[in-house]
Symmetry: C2
Subunit: 455 residues, 2 copies
């Protein structure tokens, strides 16, 4: 099999040997590890197709990978698998300024998509935490979210079309530049978020928006968590939709401050980072109204960024949360239980109580606007007892999220880490439906087998 | 079978007998007609489930129907079918003002969804032409569009979740109130636009937006079509995204004026109806800039609506286009070929030339902002030769739409009327994928068989 892969791709595009394979044996979840049979670097969809045909002949699983920044184990190799690493398919093919679209190969970095749009006055809103490193193909595979979810939605909302290589190696083009297309089932939407289990997305066609004319950033500090939640409710009740509405709990605040020294208040129970964007008049009005609502609801301070530089500094503090937490303990497990906005305060309290009950160090931050929380376990995987308690706590947190009408994963995908909890969310009928679709599209179960569910 | 249906639903909820069935034998496409075996009116999803089980036992096809306003034959009965008419499932179940969501049964009218949102200061944007009569379930089944597509997208973009009854009668809940949900394949998106071929959507959970604070309407008149297209390009190039950007050609203008007498200019080649909404300052600026751009690009006149009443009158003129055209000739065939915005002028010219070449009366109007055109054949189905020429012209128009990177249907769905053209759009591979999914979810092919494709 390896010889055949080398024949197709050339020797430099095929990695074998333990020392070369180790870096591709895990993703950002860190707890899952598996050495693959080989890692290959195709440069065209024709090469991807040829690799799939070889894999199929040898019944080898194929695991697609971008930069490996995933947070659910979605791109962790299966035993004996070929890892199809798409980072050399890294061309932005077209920025169409008249139809507001962008075509890119799957291996293009999310940041590069954003920059290419920005350069012509357009805007690609989805901004997952890893966007400087993650690939757009990975974002599509996991339906990545980010800080802009409340106002701008998630990756799915910007995928107009794609090129996808199916399990049998056939190449299929889906979608087009039309905002409206009612021709048949939305296969495009089926592949978005399918984590490489139904086909390999090799190229994407994305929708762009005009760049908002203005932006304002606020930082509100709360001595009590409930007050922060009440402020958020008041903002939404005022029918204001911020483009960013982020939240850090006290544990996260202290870690971020240790890491960045931007001057966050160490005695606060909660910080809200709020951004509004749009027309300058609207931005000014909304920012002022938010300042009032934050103050009325018990903020100990509300800071408006004086300029773009200060705004960037405040936003960067939030963006470093994961990194800041990752240096505290040897193992960092970042979850993304998500609930309807109205249930946030209750969910955060539940997470805190659960952490205390199981004697665990949990820092929570996340996207308050869209109910997407990141309870983050600061732990050590070498401590078997603690890891057992982490599993217990996770199970309780997911059950609570579901009881509150939420989801076990807002933006990380199911991968390996949430597999055990998916049936509970979907119910038996929905869960079986997923499997029927998998069987219909990948009857030999060669595409990223064992992710999302076991067949 | 009929007796079993009566036992489940009661005699009043089951129609049989030719005179009762005729009104359910067609939809708004008018050219397709088929008398079903029975029409049933379930009031709960449990009843829908029970009906499906009866149908399955008797191997009777099930065709779901709302108000029958579809424009592709999607709800036209199959021979021997049970028509499952959902109009008695007409409750708005919940308007959640804190999470901006609305839950409704499938038979609720689109207008009632809009009104229920509007009553609490929220906004349900999708506005298909038939919204006063159409049901939300039908909108979801066909992924209906409307005038707001450019800025606000289509029905799919507002569906957060649903209750769906599967072919075997199992009831399945999909989605939740979270904007972010990455748990498994997006089954919800698979059912949106599946035209009742994969399951029966009995309830929907919709996303709402805050109501825009202000709105302004403009009417621009053009002696030449190309000038109108140039104006649209200029508006988009200026990064302005109107919420409505409608177009009427000269034939449509004359028919609408005959029908409504609102004072449309009879010598114009094109009229643009443009609406902007949002913050008052933004609306005022955008309207002024649009006025300038329309004038610079050769408008013979640009009228700004003086008040909401005049705005409504102008918008109503556009909304009556289909009705106004429908009274001209015995048969009206409304198509919805759609192309990328940049190809609109070329597509409209092609439609006009095609009409002339085949000696057909074609009026074209539609959604300029999202490239969604409605070439409308004013014809007479009793004239076999003319109908043959209509078919030839349709084929040429769809081929051209695809050649320009468009779709055979922007918002009406495939149903019966576009079935012959779908493979050309999707290609063999994509087309087979649709069928695999259908076979996986409805192995006995009982749900709306023969729509979208033949198995």
């Amino acid at each position: 099999m390896i010889d055949e892969l080398i024949q197709i791709l050339g020797r430099e595009q095929v990695l074998t040997g333990m020392e070369n394979l180790v870096p591709y044996s895990f993703d950002a979840t860190s707890v899952f590890r598996q050495i693959p049979a080989a890692v290959v670097f195709p440069r065209t969809s024709a090469e991807v197709s040829a690799v799939l045909k070889v894999a199929r002949r040898h019944r080898a699983p194929v695991v697609t990978r971008g930069s490996g920044t995933g947070l659910s184990g979605g791109s962790v190799p299966s035993p004996g698998s070929i890892v199809l690493c798409l980072i050399r398919m890294d061309k932005v093919i077209e920025v169409d300024t008249r139809n507001f679209t962008l075509r890119a190969q799957a291996g293009v970095l999310t940041q590069a998509v954003y920059d290419a749009a920005d350069a012509v006055g357009l805007f690609y809103p989805p901004d997952p935490g890893s966007m400087k490193v993650s690939t757009i193909g990975g974002n599509v595979a996991e339906n990545a979210g980010g800080l802009h979810g409340l106002k701008y939605g998630v990756t799915r909302d910007y995928v107009l079309g794609m090129e996808v290589v199916l399990a049998d190696g056939e190449i299929c083009l889906l979608g087009n530049k039309c905002v409206k297309d009612a021709a048949g089932y939305s296969l495009r939407d089926l592949f978005v978020g399918s984590e490489g289990t139904l086909g390999i997305v090799t190229e994407v066609l994305l929708k762009l928006l005009p760049k908002p004319a203005a932006r304002q950033t606020l930082l509100a500090t709360y001595p009590r968590m409930d007050a922060a939640a009440a402020a958020v409710s008041a903002i939404i009740a005022a029918k204001i939709v911020p483009c960013t509405l982020e939240f850090l709990d006290s544990r996260t605040i202290r870690c971020v401050e240790d890491y960045t020294h931007v001057g966050l208040p160490l005695d606060a129970e909660a910080i809200l980072l709020i951004e509004v964007d749009g027309h300058p008049a609207k931005v000014a009005e909304d920012a002022e109204r938010i300042r009032e609502l934050c103050t009325w609801n018990g903020a100990s301070s509300v800071r408006l960024a004086a300029d773009a530089k200060e705004a960037d500094r405040l936003a960067a503090a939030r963006r470093t949360a994961f990194k800041a937490l990752a240096v505290v303990k040897p193992t960092t497990i970042l979850e993304d239980a998500t609930v309807p906005r109205t249930e946030l305060a209750r969910m955060i309290r539940f997470i805190q109580e659960t952490g205390a009950r199981h004697r665990l160090d949990i820092a929570t931050f996340g996207h308050f606007g869209d109910g997407n929380l990141h309870p983050t376990f600061l732990t050590d995987e070498r401590n078997a007892d603690e890891m057992r308690r982490v599993e217990l706590a996770k199970r309780e947190i997911f059950a609570e999220a579901l009881a509150l009408g939420g989801t076990i994963t807002g933006e990380h995908g199911v991968g390996l880490s949430k597999k055990a909890f998916l049936r509970q969310q979907l119910g038996d009928t929905g869960y079986s439906l997923l499997k029927s679709i998998k069987r219909a599209l990948d009857p030999e179960n060669l595409l990223n087998p064992g992710k999302i569910f076991d067949l």
